[in-house]
Amino acid sequence: MSRKDLATDLAELEQALQGTSGRQYWRSLDELAGTAAFQKLMRREFPQQADVWPDSLSRRHFLTLMGASLALAGLSGCSVKPAPMGKIVPYVQPPREIVAGEPLFFATAQPLPGGAVGLLVESHMGRPTKIEGNPDHPASGGATSIYHQASILTLYDPDRSQTVTYQGRTRAWTEALATLRTGLEKERDNGGAAVRILSEPILSPSLARQRERLLKSLPKAKWHVYEPLLQDARLEAMRLAFGQNLDCHYAFNKADVVLSLDADFLGSEPGNLRWIADFMSRRRIRTPASDSTQASMNRLYCIETEVTCTGAKADHRLAVRVQDIEGLARAIASKLGVSTAGSSGSAGPHEKWVAAVAKDLEAHRGRVLVLAGNRQPVAVHLLAHAINQHLGNVGQTVFYSRPVTEGPSPRIESLRELADDMRQDRVRLLIVLDANPVYSAPADIKFMDALERVPLRVHLGLYQDETARRCHWHLNEAHFLETWGDARAFDGTATLMQPLIEPLYRGRSAIELVAFLATLQETPGEELVRSRWRDHWNQQTRGPKTDDAFDAFWKTSLHDGVVAGTGFPIRNVALENDWQRHLEPQASASGASSRPGDESFELAFAPDPTVFDGSFANNGWLQECPKPSTTLTWDNAALMSPDTARQLGVELGEYAHGGEHGGFKMPVVELKVEDRSVLAPAWIVPGHADHSITVHFGYGRESAGRVGGQRDQKVGFNAYAMRTSSQPWFVPNVRVTKTDRTHLLACTQQHNLMENRDLVRSASLEKFRQKPDFASEPEKQKEIDETRRAPAPLEFYPPLEPPASTPKWGMVIDLTTCVGCKACVVACQAENNIPVVGKQQVAAGREMHWIRVDRYVGGTAEAPAEFHFQPVPCMHCERAPCEYVCPVEATVHSAEGLNDMVYNRCVGTRFCSNNCSYKVRRFNFFHYADFETGSLRLQYNPDVTVRSRGVMEKCSYCVQRIRHAQIDADREERPIADGEVVTACQAACPAGAIAFGDLSNSASEAAKWRSSPLNYALLEELGTRPRTTYLAAVRNPNPELEGG
């Protein structure tokens, strides 16, 4: 696309958009959706490939200052002076709250499986650009996961469905609603017996209420709920154990010993933020060297199959097949004296381990926590409940409350029932809300065939996904940042969701649609939500029920992002007396023959660590975010242990351009179960359980979009195709054969070992108590040696002292608490306009992330003893090797000790990157930044230059945030307060593992951490004097198992 016609496009677009103001403008964007220029802009290839000339550092112009208008300033960046003279277009009527050039924050929440998480959304001139966690929200506490960070990109995703379609042809909402009306009116007389609604679990009270209204108006209609990550076992166990459907809550901050039975509660799953925070609150070691003996930590035992973040952080990790975990659970239970009717399980080779764990659990009665993972059969869940009750944890560390989801609980039966009804033509009208069963339903349900038989099928969703394509009508849904709504957090706390922006494509929310189905007339979302909460308020409030009073309540709720007092009360429940009855081995959903020493291969399923169940498949940030334990990007794979790989004859294939920092052509294995089979590239994961092969859901999409895969160019393979409702999470006895095909897998770090370099320094709690400064010891020793050799300090140059009276910015990262969830990586990408480069470029070793999470394996790759995560941003060295080799002063030190990178001065010699000992610098080998895709440009952070081709870039400590805080402080003539500057990575981190601040202020958090005995600098011996330092990792292993 040459520069010229791009320019004309934009001009055209500009024309069409003139005369719009404030949020209104977005609506006109929607009307525009038809025009050729806009189509062209939206259809641009993506992720961007190298483009010829545009050296457009100045695209930001369009973003700032232009306010409401789309006045696109000239395309040439730092090429010619004078800077291109664009148009400047003021408002006609100034909007109340917006101050041009200053960002605003709005509270809202993102509903995701596991409960909504409260967010604060940064908005520039009516454009949401960045998402932060809401500190006041129980599920967030200020933190966010990769999914929340990335949702902003989904909002602007050019692949989002932009119009209503009927059999693929564009239609208007009015037509769609008319069809629905007639359809429903026909059904009304027989109570809607032939009407079916399929939705995901309902987190929204307002939606729940609309559902009730609908079912009132159509009493015979059925509402089905389905979620791909089936929890039948958990729910069934609840029913059997307590005779009712409950949610289980864990107080990790109160637990001294945690036993996880295949539960990845520290993983990057959306609901985990609070758990991570609570768990890590017990692992922070801030005691000074003097009273290091007082230091205490909780202890984590983990039995799992694949290497998850939880397993990586565990003090003791046992890697066994999913099907074998039940046996171990039974063994532990029986050791604890919990009756394990049926088989008492057998620890097999892990006798000692089991005994030690049981002893430890016993020892900490009441301060113990046992949880079972989704994938585990009913029996394991039952045992977990039982042990918790037996050890008196209930009420201490474990609590029960009514389930957060309203309406029917998501059971696979519900979906099967729907499928059967459809097959027997009992369904004449099906409305799918936001779900995508055609892609994700278990194979044995054959949902697609059944679906074809329904005469009128309507789908509401963000994308023209697999299900949408097989429905007559597709209604484009509004993104959660575009609509009014509400959602409950895991503990029931409700949050009001407010639109940050007019719907880009005039989408509607599920609430609005269901309300229409119920009443056959349109009601704006805001009204629906307000009325729901008005009633709630009417019940709650003691005072006068005036509108003003409600408005006040409404405003505070909106502002705080939580509706006060909506958390669920704790329920005191006890196990049913006959619960053991259900422990019969066959009762377990698996039907796994967990005989010890059984060598057959097992196929285990898991949600993908980055694209989750597939609903995020079209998100470039998530696709390119390296998966925590494998660092794979843009693909899922058949994960297996080195041992298993050897058995299958799998080994690393020919390397791609980047070598281990790029990718390999891996052999493809065929996985066969009964008549189902799938081809999957193999990937070797040190620490994975032997004889088990893990595959992740979420890939192999047929119509996700240009990023997530389309029929002609799929990304990864579809693991759902191997899944049945009877064996939803693991399949024993799968046939695995290596084919002679190969597939390129792009990874960012294949080298697992530290090669005897103390990069990640770690020790047991015991050792810390004896020798608190074990981490900084090597340097101390070195210094002693050197001074012995040469009394004078080994300096050639006299040091250059920075000017006083300026802050000394620095960062400290706590390796004990970092769980490697990658939230920092995506947050940084969102904050700093970091481009997505695509699989091929990642394979060439050119990914652009400013902060990466290194992953090391202690011991050997065959038998890993420990796993380490080490986030590595720019070190901002005081003796930066990159600076003195730059020939043009494109990277120099600022007075506050920032390692400034001046993009517009950079000529791209790459010497700085070569000489960077930490290899944190990233180079724009091509024109990566996407200036062409109109909608994506709206997401760019106006305070950060968008880098063009041929310049180096790297972590800037979020200098734009520093400056903003500094200017505010200067205006008020006061020093910057500690915590006033929060970097993007720090803000996102759920574990609170990052501290940033002024080191010259000894009161600042960062300074405090830095003075900890655990503090050490990476590669300190090089004399680079990093401003970013680490707190060594401390683990709390059970002495009985040490060396065992």
């Binding site: 140059y797 250059l800 930066a880 090797p881 003195y884 730059c886 030190h893």
Partner: protein
């Protein structure tokens, strides 16, 4: 017969076959008191210049000065721009990281010195001078190939058309003596014709 030249000639020039003959003639002319003269040889002949009374050249001094100026300027340029004009903290190095400035100072020294060597050579030799009376003499073409010439210039106080002619003609084993006209009065074409037979005087 004698050459009739209306204008004073540039000088008289004798042609030799061997370098020895040239040496001999030069020494003789010098003893005879001639100073304004020059020898022309197809390659650098050691000692000849001394015979002609050349003393040491000033080139080495010029080069030395050039070198010092170059080095000094080079270093000052770096010091000024790094430490004075826009001081930056680059990698914590001091503003005057003199060791890092040595290479460029050195290169600048070489550069300026070399140019001064070359240019001073041209200047002192009063080159470029594509046009010169000597080139009016056809045989002179061989000065750049295989013949040796000695030219006594008219500017020499002792110079006298006849006596000098005789003097040169007397030098042993010379091939001939020609008068070097300052200007060709005729266009090259005819001139070629007229000057086919050099004026030689038998002794």
């Amino acid at each position: 017969m004698k050459p009739e030249s209306n204008t004073k000639p540039f000088g008289l020039m004798a042609e030799f076959e061997t370098v020895d003959a040239l040496f001999a003639a030069t020494r003789r002319a010098r003893l005879a008191g001639y100073r304004q003269m020059d020898a022309y040889t197809p390659y650098a002949v050691e000692g000849l210049a001394e015979e002609l009374g050349e003393r040491k050249t000033r080139i080495p001094m010029v080069v030395l000065i050039g070198g010092l100026v170059g080095a000094g300027a080079g270093f000052l340029m770096q010091y000024w721009s790094m430490a004075v004009d826009y001081p930056f903290n680059a990698g914590g190095r001091p503003l005057n990281s003199w060791p890092a400035y040595v290479p460029i100072a050195f290169e600048m020294m070489i550069l300026v010195a070399s140019f001064s060597a070359f240019l001073s050579m041209l200047f002192l030799n009063d080159l470029p001078r594509p046009h010169h009376p000597l080139f009016n003499v056809p045989q002179f073409a061989r000065a750049s190939q295989d013949r040796f010439f000695l030219c006594i210039e008219a500017t020499d106080p002792l110079f006298d058309a006849e006596r000098t002619l005789d003097f040169l003609s007397a030098s042993e084993s010379h091939i001939g003596v020609v008068e070097v006209p300052i200007e060709l009065e005729t266009a090259p074409k005819e001139a070629e014709a007229s000057e086919q037979q050099p004026v030689t005087v038998m002794s």
